[in-house]
Amino acid sequence: MVANLTRFVPLTLTGKNGIDAAAAMVAAGIGVDAQTLQGLGRLAGVRATPLASGETVWKVGRTTGLTQGTVTATEVDDLTVGYDIGNVVFDNQVEIGPAVAGQPFSLGGDSGSLIVDAELFAVALLFAGNDVDATYANPIAPVLAGLQVQI
């Protein structure tokens, strides 16, 4: 065991969702540096302003590692995402495309990656995608509010 689940926001199948997020407490003895993004540097904090289409972003994920992407849409509503429990609909999501054609910004296993802007401010939390050219992420502000946590 590496961590204990401490907080999560349940998903609903009957209405709209805003975030897919959870928090865990890392177990004693497990080395972790949550403030450093490997290959990028030290997290600068949380950005107060919303992302805009055309912005460049980065993430470090379990499957694809460090990747660069471009915000292709914001305020995406009525996004249906397939889960083991069925289809789940989200509003107000961020869409990110790959910065390099043919190299997806994210793949399965990258969910939970923190997405940062050019100044290493946290901007979104990755959770879904099509494995080709569209990644979806929750804006960071409702994630932190929903989990009642801070960075």
Partner: protein, 80 residues
């Protein structure tokens, strides 16, 4: 990112209508905002490609529309 971008309120207002309108051409999976130069546009994502001869609207109430076929979207979880 500092340049003024026009038409945010208009693009937001067009989103619900875009879902309804483009839903006549296929399964829409997501309607958001994007930018074309210094203007906001509505982005409509399809799960499957509309018919090749579909006459898709290029704008709604003067707001440009960008279309993409994204296919099915799924949770990007992974097994341990």
């Amino acid at each position: 990112m500092d340049d003024e971008v026009l038409g945010l309120d208009e693009a937001r207002a067009a989103k619900p209508y875009a879902k309804e309108l483009f839903g006549r051409f296929g399964v829409v999976n997501g309607v958001g905002l994007t930018r074309l130069g210094n203007r906001y546009a509505v982005k409509v994502n399809f799960e499957t490609a509309p018919r090749a001869d579909a006459d898709l609207p290029r704008e709604i109430s003067g707001v440009p529309v960008v279309v993409q076929v994204v296919g099915r979207v799924h949770k990007q979880a992974g097994s341990l």
